[in-house]
């Protein structure tokens, strides 16, 4: 088993508030606290992008946070998944017509999962993270490459011949 398989169940998440109203942010935090408590699954909120597997991002993109979002994304190690939480992160939401909002998070970084809602509910956010886990696993498989999978198969075949 690859050393990275542990990602499958216990991803570490990084949360960043791009330009949301705070509603989605506190719901992200609410996911971590006793009622929903995703920490019991080993999902931990980290403050360090270099430790994170999943980026939970709320709110739309404006001119000042554009480099910050890009920077955070680039600092995360591969494989990584981005979950855009709330209507604003998807399209700019209620603020899309504001002069300072360029649109959803996908204007700057690739987004894998969109969680709708204004504000998104904790159950939805957890759902989004679970979906992200599947994508993370896919990306991991792609990354570790077919070679390693083939090698594993060869080892298994050899072990089979030995008996």
């Amino acid at each position: 088993m690859s050393t990275m398989a542990f990602l499958k169940r216990s991803p570490w998440i990084l949360h960043y508030d791009a330009s949301s109203c705070n509603g989605c942010d506190i719901e992200v935090l609410a996911c971590l606290t006793p009622l929903y408590d995703v920490e019991r699954f080993g999902i931990i909120n980290t403050g360090n992008p270099k430790h994170a597997d999943i980026l939970l991002i709320t709110g739309g993109i404006n001119s000042q946070n554009r480099p910050v979002v890009r920077n955070l994304y680039e600092q995360m190690p591969e494989p990584k998944v981005v979950v855009a939480i709330g209507a604003c992160a998807a399209t700019g939401g209620i603020f899309r017509e504001c002069y300072n909002i360029a649109g959803g998070v996908d204007k700057v970084i690739p987004v894998d999962v969109y969680v709708p809602g204004c504000a998104a509910r904790p159950e939805q956010i957890i759902d989004g993270v679970v979906k992200a886990l599947g994508i993370l696993e896919e990306k991991r498989e792609k990354m570790t490459g077919k070679a390693e999978i083939k090698e594993g198969a060869r080892h298994a075949a050899e072990a089979g011949e030995g008996t």
């Binding site: 001119s63 700019g92 017509e97 002069y99 300072n100 360029a102």
Partner: protein, 126 residues
């Protein structure tokens, strides 16, 4: 039962501004906010003060190019409002104690509330 607090608004001339604000400061008023409104080609700047829930407003009306003196020498905390006024409206404020020189609120478009840009559709993605 509605809130019936008194709100008084007094007009003030540009050259009297600092003196008037100083008088309010000595009278024990606290600064509530400074806010601008564009009124068809010029700016109306409201300096709001409060003392025991008595709301007092000094109203300054200036043209788009006029320089406004800072009141941060009297109310130290006024710098947040004055920098905001400069960054969003493009009003030059002179002598702010902490002058961010246009970097307090960075916007995609400079001076989004400026009256000299009036007319254009300033909301994007519409």
């Amino acid at each position: 039962m509605t809130m019936n607090e008194e709100q008084t608004t007094t007009s003030v001339a540009l050259e009297d501004l600092v003196g008037e604000v100083g008088r309010l400061h000595d009278g024990g008023y606290r600064l509530v906010q400074i806010g601008c409104t564009d009124i068809g080609g010029s700016y109306e700047i409201n300096y709001s003060f409060d003392k025991d829930y008595q709301f007092k407003n000094l109203r300054l009306t200036v043209g788009p190019e006029a320089e406004v003196p800072s009141i941060s020498g009297i109310y130290w905390g006024a710098f947040v409002y004055e920098n905001e006024m400069h960054d969003l409206f493009g009003i030059p404020v002179t002598g702010i104690n902490i002058d961010f020189q246009g970097t307090f609120i960075k916007t995609a478009e400079k001076y989004p509330f400026s009256v000299t840009r009036r007319g254009g559709d300033r909301c994007r993605n519409a």
